[in-house]
């Protein structure tokens, strides 16, 4: 099934590029969405099987793959609406790159060895670069160059970390450094090597996950990319980065450097929160503000992993809930740009009057992303704080709470302003557009799921998450 998935995806990409026909592109993209959902169903049925020698349907992978599957249909739908004004060539490139991106991400989720994971992550960088450049403006060019360059540098550093893992592996003959075979020899390795390998992997994959050391590229990329793409890359792509770091963390969790890893992750998380809070207070661009919010949530995920205990469950649940919330906010940004024609905060206003459904989405989304109950994020943040108190890490707790307060203030003032007040600068360049209220249905659906998850977590979700973290102490 996996092999046929990959082959079909490649064929779809090539036919989209070669056949140059919009209708065929739309049909093929819809087919891809169905294929992807089929893959997810298949993986649920075949949990923990290995296919093609390098891919395993592990529980974490299947969890994140399902999140990606849920997001395929709205992304493609909003993508059709967003790129309906483009000429055929740009349209085809956009959709081909989108399909490639989703294929590579699925491959990365399901990989069972470090090198295969690394190859797929490298491939996603190329696909995302193509997508960010969709607008062909100078700002898009700058963002694309920065993204591809710094992600490549990060990937090279991550490969150095993998090589260090290979050093420990030593004189065995293996091609792909599978996690299961590495797990057997971790205990005899020199701790210094493990520390350096972990640091390199963390710094390298922080370009993808958006954590503190190299978060700047993700901020630029998310604020410049087309809104449906931003929705995809600020959620599922960050999950890929997280997965890479998480696998290495799980691998090393039974070794002497466990405490070192926890402290590094907590420091990185708190610094991400600090940067996010600081910059969000002066953000003037809506999508940039949402990008900083992603940074803040990834910081929380890092703190959650560093805390341990409750934190592991909280981290994975946070990933799922954050993906749903952030993507609905970004989809809404697509419609906002069609109504207000701008993302600059100074020029936005009166959104409730111009597009009430969208404004409702924004309000609900605001409540969800700021972890105000009844949001699913509330439960996760609560568990993280509980874990911090259990571990007596009072300083981290106080710092996180204060920084999160700044974030709450920044986001809520900005959102409330654009929904209810008049714009600060009345520069009527263009008359506001009209958008059908039915386009926001997907976002209400996602936000509804998030709110439900606050009160009731279905047993299949809970089991899957618990399976993912069973190897951790």
């Amino acid at each position: 099934m996996l092999l046929s998935f990959f082959i079909t995806a490649v064929l779809i990409c090539f036919s989209i590029i070669l056949l140059k026909n919009r209708i065929i592109t739309k049909v093929l993209t819809a087919c891809f969405a169905i294929l992807h959902i089929g893959l997810t169903v298949y993986s649920w049925v075949n949990l923990n099987n290995t296919e093609l020698r390098y891919f395993t349907f592990s529980s974490t992978g299947v969890l994140l793959l399902s999140v990606l599957s849920i997001m395929t249909i709205p992304t493609i739908y909003h993508g059709f609406i967003y790129s309906s004004g483009d000429d055929t060539r740009k349209f085809n490139i956009y959709h081909a790159a989108l399909i490639a991106l989703m294929t590579f991400m699925s491959g990365a989720y399901l990989a069972n060895g470090m090198t295969v994971l690394w190859i797929f992550v490298e491939a996603t960088t190329l696909a995302v670069g193509l997508l960010i450049y969709h607008d062909r403006t100078e700002i898009a060019l700058e963002a694309t160059w920065k993204y591809v360059f710094i992600c490549s540098a990060g990937i090279a550093l991550a490969y150095l970390g993998i090589l260090f893992l290979g050093f420990i592996y030593g004189r065995e003959d293996a091609a792909s450094l599978s996690f299961s075979s590495l797990a057997e020899i971790i205990n005899q390795a020199n701790p210094m090597y493990l520390k350096i390998a972990f640091l390199f992997v963390l710094i390298g994959f922080s370009t993808k996950m958006g954590l503190f050391p190299m978060h700047t590229v993700t901020i630029d990329a998310h604020s410049v990319a087309p809104p449906p793409i931003s929705a995809l890359i600020s959620t599922t792509l960050m999950n890929v980065g997280f997965l890479a770091i998480f696998r290495v963390y799980t691998l090393f969790s039974s070794s002497p450097i466990f405490l070192f890893m926890n402290s590094v992750l907590i420091i990185s998380g708190v610094l991400s929160l600090l940067v996010a809070a600081g910059y969000m207070l002066k953000a003037k661009h809506l999508k940039r503000m949402l990008a900083y919010s992603s940074l803040e949530n990834m910081g929380l995920v890092a703190i959650a992993i560093g805390v341990g205990g409750f934190g592991y469950y909280a981290a994975l649940l946070l990933l799922v809930v954050h993906s749903l919330t952030k993507s609905s906010l970004f989809y809404q940004m697509g419609q906002l740009s069609r109504v207000l024609h701008t993302f600059k905060l100074d020029d936005c206003g009166r959104y409730m009057k111009l597009y009430p459904a969208g404004a409702m989405v924004l309000i609900l989304g605001l409540i969800c992303i700021l972890a105000i109950p009844p949001s699913g994020l509330f439960i996760t943040e609560f568990m993280i704080f509980k874990g911090l108190i259990y571990n007596d890490q009072w300083l981290v707790l106080i710092a996180s709470i204060i920084l999160l307060c700044f974030v709450v203030y920044a986001m809520s003032t900005r959102f409330m302003h654009i929904i209810f007040s008049n714009p600060r600068k009345e520069s009527d360049i263009q008359a506001p557009g009209k958008v059908n209220a039915a386009e926001s249905v997907s976002q209400f659906l996602f936000l509804g799921i998030v709110i439900v998850l606050c009160f009731y977590q279905p047993p299949f979700l809970v089991n899957l998450i618990k399976q993912s973290i069973e190897l951790l102490p």
Binding site: L126, W145, S152, L160, I162, G166, F167, Y169, G170
Partner: protein, 204 residues
Amino acid sequence: MVTYLIVLFAITLVYFASAERLVNYIFLIGAQGILLCGIALFELNEVNTANLIFIMAETIVFKALLIPYLLTRIIKASGVTKVHRQALPGFYLLLLSILALLLSVILAHSLVNPFVNTIYLTIALFTLFTGLLMIVTHKLIISHLIGFLIIENAVFIFSMAVGNKMPMLINVGILLDIFVGVLILGFFGLRLKPHTNELTMLKD
């Protein structure tokens, strides 16, 4: 024999810190490619021949011929010749380079491992630090690209340290090279100006 090649490689790295013209940088990158091919030839004698020929061919064709050719075309098209540094004059860059060498020696000494030859670890760390220094202290994006190429060479040397037993790691590392080829082609495709040093449009 490998030692002489490694010494020459280290000298090219110091030369990077003190060179002024972009043509010199390109020549050094090409020289590093040839030296790496030589090191691969003499070091990897337990790898099967087909794989060895592939690695050597890739090093020569890609690192020593193709990438310098592409970079020369970019420089001719845009007319940039001199390397403008950001905040550090060349003198301090050289000092930092020497400090990086000392730091890498100390680090390699504390990472002694029966599987890895220490001299490779030292040189690879020194190359990594030089590449990072280049990226951090230069303004032009073509200098950033050259810094990235140096980091790639560091990865290559690292992977050769265990390459005898795990040749697959070297092959995968070569994928990075191809990645860089795509980056450079982006210069042509996107009409990016390599003397762009004002990548400051995106800020808060």
